[in-house]
């Protein structure tokens, strides 16, 4: 799909998402908020994995970093908006600091290092104690807002963050940095000898990726009002986002969003209808995805539309 078409589709989805809270109950409001949250993480992965080809399996590290920065800030009476900005920016800074040495590693070594980073952060928080709460977990201030209003606000915060993340990816796809990343994904030496500062491009990509992930983590912390390392640095977050990115189409603009939506909705429906065998069904769903749409839904749509227009051309030629 062309960037233009993807953007148009995104605009339609955004309008639907804006009016959705008026028509759905609190259960589906929570499901959709989760969809947006994990879609942000998937967009974050899209930048470093889809564009740069660096498999940051441990990107959940920044979800946790964002959550803890937001948590500690909120406990220190920092206003919510600023706390989220700190979570976003702080995660980017952390990615910059660790990316500087780690992104000199190529390919798989980086993937392993990113997982190690996630594990290391868990240990740091556990042993730090103090303001992070350590192994006890960290309770956050509870909002005085009425729950209905609060959950709607969080829904819109997640939606806003997802919109910004998608716009960033859209801008990236046509930018110099986007070109640099796609070039180095296919041939790092090839990109270097054509003048691309690959290390700088990779670090920038990881910082953008971390900012998105950290932002989602920050809002999540505020939503949950209690965080602990097990759930904040859960590698399952990166894994789920990874599957969604693949399902939607990595390196595309709205693929990760579509993937997150399809995956989470299917998972939720399966979960509620077949509580005993939901894991089995999810597994079968995943296998089907890998076999039937290995390049993702967005690529599938572009292929189908290319075929349709080719068929139309043919019919016109015959007539």
């Amino acid at each position: 799909m062309k960037a233009k078409h993807q953007l148009a589709a995104a605009a339609v989805l955004l309008v639907l998402a804006l009016i959705l809270p008026a028509v759905i109950d609190n259960y589906w409001l929570r499901v959709m908020t989760t969809v947006f949250m994990i879609a942000i993480v998937a967009q974050g992965l899209n930048v470093i994995v889809g564009f740069a080809g660096y498999h940051a399996f441990g990107n959940a590290a920044f979800f946790g970093v964002g959550a803890y920065i937001a948590g500690v800030s909120l406990n220190a009476q920092v206003p919510l908006a600023l706390a989220i900005v700190l979570a976003t920016g702080g995660s980017a800074v952390v990615a910059g600091i660790f990316g500087w040495p780690l992104l000199r590693l190529r390919g798989h070594y980086f993937a392993i290092a990113s997982v190690a980073l996630n594990m290391a952060f868990v240990e740091v928080i556990l042993n730090l104690g103090g303001v992070t709460g350590g192994a006890m977990g960290l309770p956050l201030p509870i909002s005085p807002m009425p729950p209905d209003l609060l959950y709607r606000m969080i829904y819109y915060m997640m939606l806003g963050a997802l919109t910004v993340a998608t716009l960033v990816v859209w801008h990236l796809s046509g930018s110099r940095l986007g070109y640099a990343l796609r070039a180095l994904r296919d041939s790092e030496s090839g990109a270097e000898v054509m003048g691309v500062d690959t290390v700088k491009a990779k670090i920038l990509a990881w910082m953008i990726s971390a900012a998105m992930t950290g932002c989602a983590g920050g809002i999540w912390a505020y939503w949950l009002t209690f965080i602990e390392v097990g759930s904040a640095f859960d590698i399952g977050i990166s894994m789920r986002a990874y599957i969604m990115m693949l399902l939607g189409g990595m390196g595309t603009i709205i693929g990760p969003v579509v993937g997150a939506f399809v995956f989470e909705i299917v998972a939720t429906l399966v979960w509620s209808e077949f509580t005993h065998i939901h894991n089995l069904l999810l597994g079968m769903f995943l296998i089907a995805v890998v076999i039937l749409v290995p390049n993702g839904i967005i690529h599938l749509i572009s292929r189908a539309s290319a075929r349709l227009s080719a068929a139309r051309e043919l019919r016109r030629a015959k007539a």
């Binding site: 070109y179 990109a191 500062d197």
Partner: protein, 254 residues
């Protein structure tokens, strides 16, 4: 008169563990010159190109480009200074179109260039190598000959003053080789200095002003094509007696 060399390689030694890939190699390239780098497999030709484009850092020795020391600089810095190269095993950006592949060089090798200027440079480079009709194709849809020419277009889009060509003719047929020979002459006429690593002797003899011969990482000859091909060391190390007989036969026929 003394013209400054565009590239000077001084006492370069590269070791991979215990293996010495290049040993004390020194040579100069004069502006506008086409230099052939030949030698048996494993002689260190590609390693030497990798040293010039900074993909490998030599343990010893120094390099200067246009009089400025470039030893220890990063590959992208060298590229931006005006040294471009192709790879023996072509390395296209397989998810970018042919046009986008070429645009990368134009985009990153000169700052503050507008979109239209980048496009113009890419169009120009594609036209030079005869790939204009394939601009919107993906590299996977190209033939080997076209992929080799895409490598050259990508290098040319960086607006280099020194071009390193690593076996751009390997695996091509005679017509395709002649086409590349014509292309090398043409870009050399535009003022580019060129280093050609090649096994196709016909091409080396056709385009090179001077030839450097490597064996086991050491330079064993450096001279005009005639001097080098008559050098008994070079004949025994690389060319072989058959080459000499064939040269003599074709000289006799002419």
């Amino acid at each position: 008169m003394s013209v400054q060399p565009i590239l000077s390689v001084r006492d370069v030694t590269v070791r991979f563990g215990g293996v010495v890939a290049v040993k004390n190699a020194s040579f100069d390239l004069m502006p506008g010159e086409v230099l052939g780098l030949i030698g048996p497999n494993g002689a260190g030709k590609t390693t030497l190109l990798n040293v010039v484009s900074a993909l490998i850092r030599p343990q010893e020795g120094s390099l200067a480009f246009e009089g400025e020391t470039i030893t220890g600089l990063k590959p992208h810095v060298i590229a931006r200074k005006g040294v471009a190269r192709t790879f023996q095993v072509v390395q296209p950006f397989k998810n970018l179109t042919v046009m986008q592949n070429v645009e990368v060089g134009a985009m990153f090798c000169a700052r503050d260039r507008g979109k239209s200027q980048i496009r113009a440079l890419a169009v120009d480079a594609l036209q030079k190598v005869g790939l204009t009709a394939k601009a919107d194709a993906l590299p996977s849809q190209l033939t080997l000959s076209e992929r080799k020419r895409l490598e050259m277009a990508r290098a040319l889009s960086t607006e280099p003053r020194l071009l390193l060509l690593d076996e751009v003719m390997a695996g091509l047929n005679h017509t395709e080789i002649d086409r590349i020979i014509g292309l090398i002459r043409e870009i050399n006429r535009d003022g580019l200095s060129i280093i050609v690593v090649e096994h196709v002797m016909k091409a080396i003899m056709a385009v090179c002003d001077r030839i450097v011969v490597l064996r086991f990482g050491e330079k064993i000859a450096d001279g005009t094509p005639e001097e080098v091909t008559n050098d008994p060391h070079v004949i025994s190390a690389y060319l072989g007696e058959r080459f000499v007989r064939r040269q003599a036969a074709s000289a006799g026929a002419a």
